[in-house]
């Protein structure tokens, strides 16, 4: 269980939270912006706010970042 101080941290105040569905729609571009060295929180603040508040979407983001890094440049028919 979370301690009282951590409980206060579980009440984030995100004014621009995009929600799960809208965040999923742009999660791939958010990750690629991050890879390119651009701060994705500037262009997609709603997603940034969301993944800081939603544990499920945050896990998806972390997994996608790993997967895109490890398996990102694979072609269907490698020569």
């Amino acid at each position: 269980m979370n301690t009282p101080r951590n409980i206060l941290a579980l009440l984030p105040d995100n004014t621009v939270d995009a929600g799960c569905a809208a965040s999923f729609d742009v999660l791939h571009s958010y990750v690629e912006l991050e890879f390119s060295g651009v701060d994705p929180t500037l262009s997609q603040p709603g997603l940034a706010a969301h993944i800081s508040s939603c544990p499920a979407c945050r896990e998806d983001y972390l997994g996608l970042r790993d997967a895109a890094s490890l398996f990102g440049d694979i072609e269907p028919f490698p020569s």
Partner: protein, 208 residues
């Protein structure tokens, strides 16, 4: 668009043998990603090897279906593979949520968080503050949340039940569960602010 992405799109749009080869290659790739992701998340559940493999297989199958049905919506704003892998993430999360209740016995009882954590290592003045915050939070949860908000907040935020497991329990979906959690947090922030505690509230926000 990068050449790899173009190859994937051309292969999926092709017919006959080329199409079948591309679909097979994509499925194999999605399965690799699903296995990796299942393994990455496995620590949160006590799943065995065959269960993990089943989840990876099911997730890659369903991700492939989703990708084939939605490929026309891919706009080239990332590599094709990155776009495709997000469907794997979603399917893995959903399927691991289904398995959650088999191996964990986190309480769904919205009243099952009455115990104050051990505060022995905390300075005396902070212990008093923690107890006050805890009491204020408990009052707010009991008095200000709807039964559904209370159930979701206690399970997800306090007892760390995965949201996809909670969605399954409620016969709902992640987006709807998050909306309930979002509204519960907002009410609690407002209640704690009214009680004089920091962190609370700046706005009403939105979690569409």
């Amino acid at each position: 668009m990068d050449s790899s992405s173009r190859q994937w799109l051309d292969g999926l749009a092709a017919s006959g043998h080329d199409h079948e080869r591309c679909v097979a290659a994509l499925h194999a790739l999605l399965l690799r990603v699903a296995r990796y992701e299942v393994s990455r998340r496995a620590g949160s559940l006590q799943l065995r090897g065959t269960e993990l493999e089943d989840i990876a297989q099911q997730a890659s199958d369903d991700a492939l279906m989703a990708i084939r049905s939605k490929v026309a919506s891919f706009r080239g704003d990332s590599r094709f593979t990155t776009w495709a892998y997000k469907f794997v993430m979603f399917e893995v999360s959903t399927k691991m949520g289904r398995h959650f209740w088999r191996h964990r016995h986190a309480s769904m009882d919205a009243d099952n968080w009455v115990e104050l954590p051990d505060l022995g290592a905390v300075a005396p003045d902070k212990r008093t503050e923690d107890r006050e915050i805890f009491a204020a939070l408990r009052r707010a949860i009991d008095q200000d949340l709807t039964p559904l908000q209370k159930k979701v907040f206690v399970a997800v935020a306090l007892n760390e039940v995965p949201m996809d497991a909670m969605a399954r329990e409620l016969g709902s979906n992640r987006n709807a569960v998050y909306k309930v959690l979002f509204d519960a947090r907002r009410k609690l922030r407002e209640s704690l602010a009214a009680a004089g505690y920091e962190r609370p509230t700046k706005s009403s926000g939105s979690a569409a």
